[in-house]
């Protein structure tokens, strides 16, 4: 049997890295459009109907699910270490792990529920 079987760090790091790539690739444009360009009137927002149609496409739903899930696990991993080192509270690691990864899992379930129940 192979080593580091007990350690799940490689798995978490894989999720972190995948999430990092996805977040870097797509979040800036999403935020620019929906968070700034449309509300500030720089661009005409798409109609409700076109967005609703887009959202009913299974590909869009799968895309959003993947983006949300991986981004959350990216956050969980990074934020865990930021709390450890930035505030020097590594002794609370069980609480921090539960909060970060638990948060990511809850977010995944919510995202899955929302996107599937459309």
């Amino acid at each position: 049997m192979s080593h580091n079987k007990r350690s799940n760090e490689p798995f978490l790091w894989l999720l972190f890295s995948a999430g990092g790539v996805v977040a870097a690739m797509v979040i800036p444009i999403h935020l620019l459009l929906f968070g700034l360009a449309f509300p500030l009137g720089w661009l005409n927002p798409p109609s409700y109907q076109s967005l609703a149609d887009l959202l009913h496409n299974p590909v869009t739903r799968l895309y959003l699910f993947v983006v949300c899930t991986l981004s959350l696990f990216h956050w969980a991993h990074r934020f865990r270490y930021t709390l450890y080192d930035g505030l020097q509270i590594k002794h609370l690691n069980e609480l921090i792990n539960t909060f970060c990864y638990g948060g990511a899992i809850v977010g995944t379930v919510v995202a899955g529920y929302l996107l599937w129940s459309l």
């Binding site: 509300p39 798409p46 109907q49 990074r78």
Partner: protein, 135 residues
């Protein structure tokens, strides 16, 4: 200060300040990069709210759009956008360090790995914008 023993000389240990990341610019840059993850998480929340608003019908979505025009929400999204940009740029720049690709016996220069990442970023962004704005 430790308790000296026969084998361990007396020495002085400095404690790391809680605000160590404020003391030097490279550390501050690091902590800002790490904090970008919080805004990544905020984006996910925002997106899920949007999905649920769209699912709730046209009236609900109009209300959501109005909420997005709230100055506080705009400010938050502006800050988030800047942090997410920081994440993207640092991520693409550091990727070549982690992936030492070798071709023809030589290590591929960092720029040749980061470059395609930036091209892909531009293409993906354009594709997302096109799909959203088409409607």
């Amino acid at each position: 200060m430790n308790a000296p023993t026969e084998y361990l000389p007396k020495s002085y240990r400095t404690r790391v300040s809680t605000y160590w990341w404020l003391h030097r610019w490279p550390y501050l840059k690091f902590i800002l990069r790490e904090l970008s993850s919080v805004f990544v998480a905020w984006f996910v929340i925002l997106t899920l709210l949007q999905v649920s608003a769209i699912a709730g019908g046209a009236a609900g979505y109009a209300q959501f759009q109005e909420w997005l025009q709230n100055p506080i929400v705009i400010l938050l999204n502006l800050v988030s956008f800047l942090f997410v940009l920081l994440h993207a740029v640092t991520w693409f720049n550091l990727a070549p360090k982690a992936m030492a690709v070798r071709m023809g016996g030589k290590r591929v220069p960092d720029l040749l790995i980061a470059g395609p990442n930036y091209v892909a970023w531009a293409v993906v962004s354009a594709a997302v914008a096109w799909i959203v704005l088409r409607g």
